[in-house]
Symmetry: C2
Subunit: 361 residues, 2 copies
Amino acid sequence: MKARARKSRGGRPTLKDIARKVGVHVSTVSRALDVQTSARLAPKLVEKIRRAALRSGYKPNPAARALKTRKSRTIGVVIPDIADPAFPPIIRGIEDGLARNDYVAIVASTDGNPWRQQRILEAMRARGVDGLILAGVLRTDAMVSKLTAGIPVTTVIRQTDASPFSTVLHDEDGGIRLALAHLVSLGHRSIATIAGPQSFSTGYNRHAAFNRHAELLGVRSDPPLTAFARAFNEAEGERCAEELLVTGRPFTAIICANDRLAIGAIAALRRHSLRCPEDISVTGFNDMPLVDRLSPALTTVRVQHFQAGIEAAEIIVDMVEKNPVEPRHTILPVELVVRESTRRLSHGRMQRAENLSSRVE
Amino acid sequence: MKARARKSRGGRPTLKDIARKVGVHVSTVSRALDVQTSARLAPKLVEKIRRAALRSGYKPNPAARALKTRKSRTIGVVIPDIADPAFPPIIRGIEDGLARNDYVAIVASTDGNPWRQQRILEAMRARGVDGLILAGVLRTDAMVSKLTAGIPVTTVIRQTDASPFSTVLHDEDGGIRLALAHLVSLGHRSIATIAGPQSFSTGYNRHAAFNRHAELLGVRSDPPLTAFARAFNEAEGERCAEELLVTGRPFTAIICANDRLAIGAIAALRRHSLRCPEDISVTGFNDMPLVDRLSPALTTVRVQHFQAGIEAAEIIVDMVEKNPVEPRHTILPVELVVRESTRRLSHGRMQRAENLSSRVE
DNA sequence: TTGTAGGCGTTATCAA
DNA sequence: TTGATAACGCCTACAA
């Protein structure tokens, strides 16, 4: 029980070590350890080999396996910025989903910089990733299809206009419909919107949904009371709210394309002595961490961040393992979370909002 | 210029392909492409080979290289939960720092579950990581040193009591001193604290710092006005604030071990009709995203999340490449960010706070 | 049912 | 200065 049959080196035990110990050839050990091929071996032998492997703490060498099989069991995950609160839960989902299948993720942030994105994609290629999960792609990105040629890809949360990629999306249209219907049920009729960047599918789809449903619900203003953000952040939310206010046109609510824009918008309103929700109701989208702790706590559309990551992971594993690759498309349901930033339109409030906003000019 | 010398397969070009094209042996190509060894080759040949490699888009196969060199250029990163807002900036720093050195990270979340942590550590070992960055270790964790035996480790943000690990830490002591001195300069003398879990070095060190500096500044109450959180989250912050209030003992400020505890504490105060900062001043620690958007905006200690990640990455790469491994210890400076949650103690405020808090019982 | 042999792409050692 | 050869650990025809 002392110096057990020595390992080939200082390192971990290999198939060869086990083979020597059991007194059988390496290939036999290899077969015994593979569920697929072990069926064709003597059951007793298989048992014996497996026990030996277990006792020695054998773990297949991933490099050797990858070299032979040309599969790294590694998935590249590309996002705009991991520090943006919207992404960590998705990544968490991806990692858990991949781990279930014995894959791992390597993730990198593009900062929305196409040049950086290219470098990252090339680096991941070089690393030999088996598949790619893209969370930060632009709607129209010619480069990305070239850079990912020949390897399975799925997008999460975002989609490209025309690509053979699988997609995992939130029900953007449904979410906006919910928010709009909620405001309408509260009596709001003059509803402005702060749209996200149209270069992202999220920005584009949510804005399209706003127009569509505003029309259907008969609350569409003409010309539309819309401000377009150039990025999904608080500063742009503030800028857009200002932009809406200086038009001098009255409105009693704002639908924002995401939570960060909503937070900025509320700050801008406050700076103009407009209170939320007393004067103006505001809705967000995403239900980021902490938005329930703001004051006013944000009414927003909750999306299934974590689940989106799980789905993306399952899909990409499927694509990697079961060629040929059929793109799959998943849409995750959303729900409205009503908190404090929306309120029933009270009598005369419309008038007040009008006065207040007009004095901005 | 048409069908160039065919690749060995459908896949990427290999050393062999380049060798064939240039008309030399593979080993020569290998040497030419390595800066270390190319010095011993004919400069013209090196040039020729390099150009050929470049033109063919050659990228070394990481699996083959790893198999031969026993180095995967992969670092395992273990954290409690990637969805906790404190960690993404650190991870971002780690990824950027590793990328500079052509390493990648694989990250996994333990959820603070020791069993999960063990599985993760084992999986990373099996994956052949060259080094480990630990962000979620407990102060006393016997298991972790066994599980990481033989591979370089650095901790970030956290430290273990006695291990041969390198560490990257914020200046916890200095941060608490800053917060305390700030409150004292505002006239506060009765200062309570909500301490973090003592099983984490952050919780332990910050609490020790509080006691030390409270004593030095002469504001120490006896017995101490301290509540211990069982986790670093908002719910525990609320619970602890309640706990402080029901003592009936007066205080005008609370120093919280991190931002999330502070957020919870403020919510609890509000529920008891105590306003922050008018009645009670509150400080946090970390300067998480969004805490500047809360109302009141949180006065807190800003730490260098991103830089901590960068440092950890540099250190672990160093440890991996330059054996023998000498543990290195880095402490990052912090700064106090004064916002709205702290205010000068006004006349009679102490009295009011006393009345209000005593009616809780 | 099991053993043999060859190769995945690199690097390292030894010759020449 | 360059070439030949072997080996890293695993998988898989093919042979026995």
